[in-house]
Symmetry: D3
Subunit: 69 residues, 6 copies
Amino acid sequence: MRISARNQLRGSVKRVEHGTVNSEVTIELSGGIEIVSIITKQSAEQLQLTAGSVVHAVIKASDVMIATD
Amino acid sequence: MRISARNQLRGSVKRVEHGTVNSEVTIELSGGIEIVSIITKQSAEQLQLTAGSVVHAVIKASDVMIATD
Amino acid sequence: MRISARNQLRGSVKRVEHGTVNSEVTIELSGGIEIVSIITKQSAEQLQLTAGSVVHAVIKASDVMIATD
Amino acid sequence: MRISARNQLRGSVKRVEHGTVNSEVTIELSGGIEIVSIITKQSAEQLQLTAGSVVHAVIKASDVMIATD
Amino acid sequence: MRISARNQLRGSVKRVEHGTVNSEVTIELSGGIEIVSIITKQSAEQLQLTAGSVVHAVIKASDVMIATD
Amino acid sequence: MRISARNQLRGSVKRVEHGTVNSEVTIELSGGIEIVSIITKQSAEQLQLTAGSVVHAVIKASDVMIATD
């Protein structure tokens, strides 16, 4: 499957924390950069996400804001 | 200013392409990872973004989806 | 590839209209239901979308609002 | 009320599951297509959503991604 | 029509600027507060938005970030 | 820090309700207008939000829909 979202960053799952409805997944990209994702618990289970899983963080370009100091 | 968005990734602007209303900004994080952002041209101008500008890519955790192969 | 977004609706592209930066893609689901998507023109070209292409409309559950009459 | 969101798909509520803060609502469109929505529990209660309620799934065009096989 | 989005702020259109695909609409709330919205030009035309139109700015609670100084 | 989001509305926190994962924050703008925000509980704690805190509600222009009666 290929998807229209412009950002598809390869990494591995560092940590999964399940809430009642949602799960918080921390992904480590190359270079040690971490990205936090919140998805539904049902999705996290269907994708069988656990520490070490190889994944892509998928982000639409219009969801990336830019800040300067 | 501090903001509630969970992901604030430091990088530098690699390229800015202005459209009529929107601008597409490519940000290079450490390790050579690139993230593409689309913001309004007015915002790009107000932040004076040009190649080399030090910026943060700001992304809400709920806007990060996860894909597996 | 499998993705965490809860809604992945199979359909076919009915129409693609390219703007300068974005493209508007109309997808027809079974039963004649139409969904309009706006993605970047670059994505539309990379996915080689044309009328008749078989696609999935991918939508996060938290992006679906509900209205009543 | 009329709203700027491009997708307003008529259907009926098939199932409502309440969490602590959010509710997950499954909507059945014509042709048996199902869409899952997550809204706040407070909104679900104010709209008095129960199985069988006639509703519209409201989705912005820019929140619809496209995937190909 | 009633919608699940938590924020529905009444105001009047102060200015509409049409691009090729999108329109930028500035809404003035009571107390002189201004909110900028970007919707598709087609939606702006269907809603017949012009300066002075009475409208509601509709915003999901999860799309409101918080910043501190 | 300056950010690309077009709407940055100054106000004060009126109420914070913490859930397990998310917090609901009600912000009062000038003129008595209220905006509801849902952010992660972790962000609410890091920003030390309590009733009376001076904050900005930060909203992307593309997340503002428009409704008419």
